[in-house]
């Protein structure tokens, strides 16, 4: 098992290298450069622009730039932001990463805590009223775009009813308060979790339905166990094995979703930072965030595989 984990970690190196080559290339293909917005400022001349490009090495051929970037990365230097001049990218990201991670973890827990019980209830009484209600809600959840759902929630619950703040992580100019943080977290977390909750519910339902039909469930019933024990002791653990994989793979969706959600709720996380960096062609920032996301995805997959081996004795690494 330990050997397997080490092997997997070593394998991530070529993977991350591939990701970096691709994203570096794609980012450079996008038209414009970091100076485009600067030119709106009448105080900056064409000469200043040329000097800036030369100084940052942005006039060099792409492969030269890439190798230089890679060399810096290896020493742990992600470079300085081109927009917030002089500030190291890592500093900007580290200031915001906790916000994003908080939002993602809370949403993931919310999705798991809601989806698994509803999936089980649905599977225990398939084609009942409960099942149809859960199923309909799931399809609605999957079909609703999160930017729209977010705006509707803001309109109803923040603007009209005033129950929740419409954005931000905390009320400005007030001392830290846990309650206030939670209050701000609720809407973004719900929006980010909705689609995943929906598909996780469907997945749990079909997995449990499949398991409850298995021969060993009949064996458990033939032993005289009550339905509850049959479902939870013999069914659940088997039914959750495939669900685990999905939870591991949820991470990339959350990273993508958090970009949109953070924008809507003005949540100061790396998603918001990423959007701004993209619009302003802040190359070092884009690359750093991409690499962090890629690493998170790989970690998510690794965790899913490890959980898999823990829950299913048939899997040995």
């Amino acid at each position: 098992m330990i050997a397997y984990i080490i092997r997997r970690i070593i394998l991530t190196i070529p993977l991350l290298l591939g990701v970096s080559v691709l994203s570096f290339g794609i980012v450079q293909l996008a038209p414009g450069d970091p100076t485009a917005l600067m030119m709106d400022n009448p105080g900056i001349s064409q000469e200043d622009r040329e000097a800036f490009l030369e100084e940052q090495g942005l006039n060099d051929p792409v492969h030269v730039q890439y190798v230089r970037w890679l060399g810096d990365i290896v020493t742990g230097d992600f470079g300085e932001s081109l927009i917030y001049q002089g500030t190291p990218v890592t500093e900007l990201i580290m200031a915001r990463l906790p916000n994003t991670l908080l939002l993602m973890v809370v949403s993931a827990l919310l999705a798991i805590v809601v989806a698994i019980p509803f999936g089980i209830v649905s599977a225990r009484k398939p084609y009942s009223l409960t099942d149809y209600t859960v199923t309909t809600a799931s399809f609605l959840g999957m079909a609703t775009p999160n930017f729209w759902f977010g705006l509707v929630l803001i309109m109803l619950l923040s603007v009209h009813l005033g129950w929740f703040p419409s954005g931000g992580v905390a009320t400005l100019n007030e001392p830290f308060s846990l309650l206030d943080r939670i209050h701000h977290l609720i809407l973004p977390a719900i929006v980010l979790a909705t689609a995943e909750t929906a598909s996780l519910t469907r997945y749990t339902r079909s997995s449990m339905l499949d398991v409850l039909d298995q021969d060993y469930i009949r064996t458990a019933r033939a032993k005289g166990f009550k339905q509850r024990k049959v479902v939870y002791k013999h069914g659940l653990r088997n039914g959750l094995i495939p669900v685990l994989t999905l939870i591991g793979l949820m991470l990339p969706t959350f990273i993508g979703g958090s970009v949109v959600t953070e924008k809507i709720f003005n949540w100061p996380g790396i998603g918001l930072l990423f959007i701004d960096a993209t619009f302003q062609r802040d190359y070092p920032m884009i690359m750093a965030i991409t690499m962090i996301s890629a690493t998170l995805v790989i970690i998510g997959n690794l965790i899913a595989d490890i959980l898999y081996a823990i829950f299913d004795p048939r899997i040995e690494y």
């Binding site: 060993y216 458990a220 005289g224 009550k226 299913d312 048939r314």
Partner: protein, 327 residues
Amino acid sequence: MASLLNIENLKTYFFQKKHVVPAVDGVDLKLNKGETVALVGESGSGKSMTSLSIMGLVPKPGGEIVDGKIMLEDINLTELSEDDMCKVRGKEISMIFQEPMTSLNPVLTIGEQLVEVITYHQGVNRASAVEKAIELLQIVGFSRAEEIIRDYPHRLSGGMRQRVMIAMAMSCNPKLLIADEPTTALDVTIQAQILELLKNLTKEFDTSILLITHDLGVVSELAERVIVMYAGEIVEEAPIDEIFDEPYHPYTEGLIKSVPTLTGEIERLYSIKGNVPSPDSLPKGCRFASRCNKVFGRCLEEKPQLKSISNSRSVRCFLYDDEEEVE
């Protein structure tokens, strides 16, 4: 001999959207203490549904016992609540299934699956349940029982898993063991071992067996009495030493003729033509009529009744209608 199980006029129907399917249609069955009775029939004859009715495990929604009594000694199982039935299942009546490969839970150890049923029904603590589990595994023929209890099912072969199933079924000294095609999924040499094991265990524990099978070889190995089912009904009942030599019902005769023998030089194996009629479109007359080679006019018009020919034999066929209680 004292009677253990007494089924009277059992009717288990399936209610589908458009029609009602009589899977078990008026079955009477008696089983004495320590006796082994085989319930024989093709797929779809209702034999498995009869056994699930006894266990109270008729698939729901849809399936339902609509009529009849299932007396286990002096308790009517059809009238028990689900909670009370849970105390009977696995304790008084236990069951082993056709598919040993998939009948054990893949994520729990063999030991856990044995221990859970022992602690549940016998109220003993875990340590003594583990001891009992090891002892049971030794009885069913595992030499390394202490190691096996820590193993997961996927490490065992089909034959070994069926032994575990048998150990589990026997763990609470049941009065009745229902064996639903216990050897069908195993290869021939393992089949013989499992049958031998069942035979010895029933003697040792004084357990009755209701053996559900379509394999007449298995029947002759284990059973004392044979009950033949066809399309949800019993068509013939006879002691084992008579049925092979002198089957009464044309269906039984066909079943026996379709078993290959070692001595007979048969060019082509006999087969009963056609299939069991679908339970939702049963004919008016005898249910076997369309496949019977001795069919005559009355068979198509009228439904034959199960009729006692002697005190140990009965048959549902008009061919024997005039023979009033010989002997």
